[in-house]
Symmetry: C2
Subunit: 345 residues, 2 copies
C-alpha cells in the first residue's frame, strides 16, 4: 500500500498565487448570457449550487492555468498575455470532466452530484460543449500584437485537445477488455491527461520566452508532469480517503478502472487470472475490493506506482536546472513538483 | 397539407459546383490518425460503412460550406482562402448532428443507424468532440497573410457555434413543456439552425469582400436563409416521405417535436388542448399521428409554414439585388433560394 496517501501537504505557491486573477478571468469568460445554461457552468466551476445560489466552496486545484501563468511569469513574460490561454485550458479541462462523467456514469465529483446527475445527460452534454466554445472565445482574446504567438498557442491548444479526446476514446475502448499493458496505459494517459498538462507549461513557455529551445524543454517537462499527475491520481483513486479526494475509498476498483496499480498487478504472476475474474464481475462488492487491495499489496503495486512518480519528479527537477529560472522560481517549481509527488487531493 | 413536399427539385448549381473541392478538403481534414475513432468520423460523413469499408453513397447537401464558398466566389474572392472555414462549418454541423442524435435518442439519419446507435453513447460523444476540434484545426490553416481576416472569421465561427449550442439547449428545455410560442420557436431556431447558416454566408462575404457593408447584408441574408431552411425542414419532418428525407413519415410528430406546424396549430382554437393532450401521451401511435395531421390540415398549418418560407425567400431575393453580384451569380443564388423553398430532401 502506498503509505503517504493520507498526508495533506499544503498547496504550493505556484498553485495559490494566481488564484484570484484566474478566478476573475474565469468568471469573466463564463459571461452572463441569460439562459439558465450558464447556471450549470457556474455550478460546474463550484461557484453556485444547483439552484444558482452563490457558493464559497473551493473546487479543483487549477493546476493547468496556474502552471501556464507560472511558467510564463518565471521566464520573465507578461502573465496578462498568457491569461486567455490559461483560462481556455481550465475551461477545456472542465469540458472534459463534464463529458467524462457522462461517459463513465460518474455520479459524484468533489463531494457534489455531477452535472448529468443533476440535470440529465442532454443538458450536461450541451453544458460541456459550451465550456469548449468559451475556451475558443477566450483564446481569441489573446493580444494580437504578436499574431504568430496567437497562431502557435491556438494550435498547441487544438492539438492538446485532440489528443485528450483521443485519450478518452482509448480509455473507453480499453474498458471491459482483457486488460491492457503498461505500455498501452502510458500511451493512453499521455493523451488523456498528459496532453493538456503538457500544453499548459508549453504555452506558458512559448509566451514567456517567445518559443525556441526553452519552450521545447517545457514541452518535455509537461509530459513528465502529466505522467506524475495521473499516476498519483491512480494511487489516490485506489488508496485515497474520501475526505481528501471527494471519491469513495477504492472507488477506481469499484468502477473497474484500468489504473496503473491494477495493470501492474495483472502483469504479475500468479494474480493475472484472479484480477481478470474480479474485474469481469458485474458488481464489485466490498469483499471484492478488499481482495483486490490485498493483491495490490502482495504485488507491491503502490510502491511500484509511487516509484514511477518519484522517478519522473527527479527527471523534472534536473530539467529545471538549466532553463533560465531564477533561484526563487526554481525553488517554487520544485515545491510544486514535491506537492505532485505527495498530494492527497 | 403542404402540397409540394413530394416534388424532387434538382440540386442547384450552388450546391453542386464545389462538391469535389469540398470533399477533398474534408477528407484531408479528417486525417488518417490511426485509432479506430476516425473510422467513426468517416462513417458519419457517409464515406464508409460501420466496418470501415468505403462507400459511394452521397450524404447531406453540404449547404453550409457550399454557401460559404459560393458567397466568397461570387463576390470575387479566392475560394482557397475560404476553404478552411467552409470545411470547419461542415465539421461543426456534423459535430452538432452527432450530439443532437444522442440528445434526441435518434436512431436513424439518412437511412443509416446513427453513431451512438452503432457504437454507443460514450464513443459517439467523443466522435462528436473530435469533429469539433478538427474544425478548429481547419480554421487554423486559414492563410495568415491577413491575420485580421483569420481573427474575424474565427470569432464569427465561435459565436455561431455558441449560439447553435445555446439553441440546442433551448430546444431541450422546451421539451415536455406545455408547448412554446411562435416567438420562442423563432428565437430557438435562429440559434440552433440559423447561427451556423448565417455564419456560412457571413464568412464567405467577409473573405470575398474584405468585410464592410456587403458582409453585414450577407449576415442578414444568412439569418433569413436559416429560417427558410428550418421551417422547410419542419414541413418535411411532418409531411415528407421517408424516401426523400431518410426519416419515417410523421416522424417529428411521433417524436413529439415542437415544430412550427404544431406550434401554429396549438395557437389555434379549438385545437390547443387536444394537441397538448396528444403530445403528453407516452407513446404516439399511428392513429394519433393521423389525428394530429388532421388538425394540422384544419388549421392550415402547412400553408402557414410554407407561406413564411416564401416570404423570407422574397426578402432574400430583394436583398441580393444590390450587393455587387454579377447577373449570373444572382441567377444562381436565386435558383438556390427557389430550391430551399421547394426542396423535398
Amino acid at each position: 500500500m502506498a503509505d503517504n496517501v493520507h498526508l495533506k501537504p499544503e498547496l504550493p505557491l505556484v498553485l495559490s498565487r494566481y488564484k484570484d486573477v484566474l478566478d476573475l478571468a474565469l468568471k469573466d469568460a463564463i459571461s452572463d448570457r441569460r439562459i439558465f445554461l450558464y447556471d450549470m457552468l457556474r455550478y460546474c466551476m463550484g461557484w453556485s449550487d444547483a439552484y444558482g445560489a452563490p457558493l464559497e466552496t473551493k473546487k479543483g486545484k487549477g493546476i493547468r492555468p496556474s502552471l501556464c501563468l507560472f511558467t510564463c511569469d518565471a521566464l520573465g513574460g507578461d502573465i496578462e498575455k498568457a491569461l486567455p490561454a490559461a483560462v481556455a485550458l481550465e475551461l477545456i479541462h472542465n469540458f472534459s470532466l463534464i463529458h467524462d462523467e457522462i461517459q463513465d456514469s460518474d455520479e459524484i465529483r468533489h463531494h457534489r452530484p455531477t452535472l448529468w446527475n443533476v440535470w440529465g445527460i442532454p443538458k450536461a452534454l450541451v453544458a460541456g460543449n459550451v465550456m469548449r466554445v468559451l475556451a475558443d472565445k477566450s483564446m481569441s482574446t489573446m493580444p494580437s500584437d504578436h499574431s504568430k504567438l496567437l497562431t502557435v498557442s491556438s494550435s498547441i491548444v487544438s492539438e492538446a485537445c485532440l489528443e485528450m479526446i483521443e485519450g478518452q476514446y482509448m480509455d473507453i475502448s480499453f474498458e471491459g477488455g482483457d486488460g491492457i499493458s503498461v505500455d498501452q496505459y502510458m500511451k493512453m494517459i499521455s493523451h488523456k491527461t498528459g496532453a493538456l498538462l503538457r500544453s499548459s507549461v508549453h504555452i506558458g513557455a512559448v509566451i514567456g520566452s517567445r518559443g525556441g529551445r526553452v519552450a521545447d524543454i517545457f514541452r518535455e517537462i509537461g509530459i513528465k508532469l502529466g505522467f506524475m499527475f495521473q499516476i498519483r491520481d491512480d494511487i489516490l483513486g485506489t488508496w485515497g480517503e474520501t475526505t481528501s479526494t471527494g471519491k469513495p475509498v477504492g472507488s477506481d476498483i469499484r468502477r473497474k478502472k484500468n489504473t496503473l496499480p491494477i495493470i501492474h498487478a495483472r502483469e504479475t504472476q500468479p494474480y493475472q487470472e484472479e484480477i481478470s475474474e474480479l474485474y469481469s464481475l458485474e458488481f464489485i462488492e466490498d469483499h471484492h475490493v478488499d481482495r483486490v487491495l490485498d493483491i495490490l499489496d502482495a504485488t507491491k503495486a503502490g510502491h511500484y506506482c509511487q516509484g514511477l512518480v518519484e522517478d519522473y519528479a527527479l527527471e523534472v527537477s534536473k530539467d529545471i536546472q538549466n532553463i533560465g529560472f531564477s533561484k526563487n522560481s526554481r525553488e517554487e517549481f520544485q515545491a510544486l513538483v514535491s506537492f505532485l509527488v505527495d498530494r492527497s487531493f
